[in-house]
């Protein structure tokens, strides 16, 4: 594939991704907008792939190494932090509190008929 063909191909993917993104995300309820933000946060951590690539092959001078290393650190903080924090939030969304179990903090010893 020539370079310009590749570019057109990539642009096609880009445009389709925009439409797909709007389609999928408009279905997310307001209830989950914070997890949506932290989840997309984690997804843009994919830039870690870029950081690995530049650090992998740019071994010629110190500056590239330092920049690449810093990029790897930042991107991995992004990835790990993003997914962990999203998981913590989503864990809390329950349809119903487990019968009586959530009551433990106020009246745990209430007798049941």
């Amino acid at each position: 594939m020539s370079h310009s063909q590749l570019l057109v191909f990539e642009l096609t993917i880009l445009v389709l991704a925009i439409f797909l993104g709007f389609e999928v995300i408009s279905k997310v309820p307001t209830l989950l907008h914070t997890p949506l933000m932290s989840g997309t946060n984690a997804i843009h951590g994919i830039v870690i792939v870029g950081a690995m690539v530049v650090m992998g092959h740019g071994h010629k001078d110190t500056l590239t190494w330092v920049i690449g290393f810093a990029a790897v650190i930042l991107a991995s903080a992004n990835v790990v932090g993003g997914f962990v924090v999203t998981d913590r939030m989503l864990e809390m969304f329950k349809r119903r509190r487990p019968e009586r179990a959530a009551k433990d903090d106020d009246q745990s010893t209430s007798p049941k008929p």
Binding site: V24, H33, I46, V47, A51, H59, S76
Partner: protein, 463 residues
């Protein structure tokens, strides 16, 4: 591993990311979606490691351990109330990483004379510019939300001109790079100007507008990541970046619609400046404020059929969400129907209040969005407003002079009785007077929200 295999495996990652977002449309399945996305990310990292061009494994692993360790600890420790600044922080580091990748790529490619293709140059410029803006802007947003610097808008004369000049400088350097300029200092100018612009453009934005800003910066980082994908000819970066870009853009639009303000007005309006003047004109004189005791309110609540709680950021600040849930449980045992009405901009980021209440074990079907909640108020006996102010301000409907005129609000004044829990009569975050407090239907219960709720729990129990 061949390029084809690599790209096919990256395609799997793309699918997992789309699934992760698709699962978010169902609260009970969303967590699984997040795991699927994380698995896809892990796959992408493994595939990248397997590429023949990657040589310095151990340094990469070391970097990942440092960054990942920091991310994990921060993510585990953060309180749910501090979630907006955490999201801002992770967003910023992502943008910073994208900018650094572009810098390294420019540094590697540029010295080979004439090697930098125009489209790669444009991608490098965009990724570095947007990534650096997002990094610096997110850090300022983080500092504001963490209250390291003041949340009120910081303004000075000629601000827009200075901002435009700084951004112009960054753009000029970027265009020079795209046009084939290979001087390294061009990149330094670009990054410095972009970072300075990021700081300057978030500084004048008030704390109440943070939901919009965080969403916008989220979109920026996505775009920067997508541009990085063009540099490295990598589809997974392009798709993942644009998914995030679309999400951030959509949230930005929703948030500004929820405040009835255009994005330009949020970004350049320096909200909070205008309001001091407008507050004086609000039609509140002549009205009196009725305050009630906790016992009175407890009786009202216990003998009501339907109670709606309207939580605001004040509730989160007072850490009263668990107490509110206990009160609600108690009322439900007495046969009262309790729901929560949540305004889109309650909290400091989109959907923040839902997370806080979910943390307090409130089942999410009880959390009602504005459109769902508003028709219910006419059939509601008591509305309990806890730490909310501007989102229940009837001036948004009636007073054309009000800075929040036209903003969609929760019509709590249509209920039989409104109980407002408030520390004092001081105006809210945006500094706007609220005629709801002077409404004859309204009673005020002054004091710290947590203390008031605790007292209410005791009183309801005693009935």
């Amino acid at each position: 591993m061949s390029r084809t295999t690599t790209d096919l495996l990256y395609l799997v990652t793309i699918v997992t990311f789309v699934l992760a977002l698709a699962f978010l449309s169902r609260p009970d399945k969303a967590r699984i979606g997040n795991w699927i996305g994380a698995a896809g990310m892990l796959l992408a990292i493994a595939v990248t490691f397997a590429q023949s061009s990657i040589m310095s494994y151990w340094e990469i692993v070391l970097g990942m351990a440092i960054g990942g360790g920091f991310g994990a600890v921060a993510a585990r420790r953060v309180k749910m109330t501090a979630m907006p600044q955490m999201v801002a922080l992770f967003n910023g580091v992502g943008g910073g990483a994208a900018a650094l990748v572009s810098w390294a790529e420019f540094h590697r490619q540029a010295p080979m004379a004439g090697s930098l293709k125009v489209d790669i140059g444009i991608a490098i410029m965009l990724s570095a510019l947007i990534g650096a803006i997002s990094f610096a802007g997110s850090m300022v947003a983080f500092a504001k939300l963490q209250e390291l610097i003041q949340g009120r808008p910081i303004t000075y004369p000629g601000q827009q001109v200075v901002n435009a000049l700084v951004l112009g400088g960054g753009l000029a350097a970027g265009i020079a790079i795209a046009a084939g300029g290979e001087e390294q200092w061009l990149m330094w100018v670009l990054l410095a100007c972009a970072a300075a612009f990021g700081v300057l453009f978030v500084l004048p934005i008030g704390g109440a507008d943070m939901p919009v800003v965080i969403s916008l910066l989220n979109a920026f980082t996505g775009l920067a990541a997508a541009a990085t994908g063009f540099e490295l000819e990598n589809n997974v970066l392009i798709v993942a970046g644009m998914l995030v870009g679309a999400s951030g853009t959509l949230l930005t639009l929703m948030m500004s619609r929820a405040m009835n303000r255009s994005i330009t007005n949020v970004l350049f309006g320096a909200f909070g400046q205008v309001t001091a003047a407008a507050a004086a004109s609000a039609d509140t004189d002549g009205g009196t404020v009725r305050s009630a005791t906790a016992e009175d309110v407890a009786v009202m609540l216990a003998y009501a059929h339907k109670v709606v709680v309207v939580p605001g950021y004040g509730l989160a600040v007072a850490q009263a969400q668990h107490d509110v849930r206990q009160l609600a449980d108690l009322l439900e045992e007495k046969g009262v129907e309790v729901t929560y009405a949540i305004h889109p901009v309650a909290g400091r980021m989109p959907g923040h209040m839902n997370v806080l209440l979910a943390e307090a074990n409130v089942p999410y079907p009880q959390l009602k969005e504005m459109d769902e909640a508003n028709p219910e108020f006419t059939r509601t006996d008591v509305v309990l407003v806890v730490g909310a102010n501007d989102v229940v301000n009837p001036d948004a409907r009636n007073n054309q002079g009000s800075p929040i005129y036209g903003m969609p609000i929760l019509n709590v004044d249509q209920a039989q009785t409104v109980v407002v829990l408030k520390r004092s009569m001081s105006p809210g975050f945006a500094g706007i007077e609220n005629p709801l407090f002077f409404n004859p239907k309204t009673v005020m219960l002054f004091g710290d929200a947590k203390d008031s709720i605790t007292t209410l729990i005791g009183d309801v129990k005693g009935l």
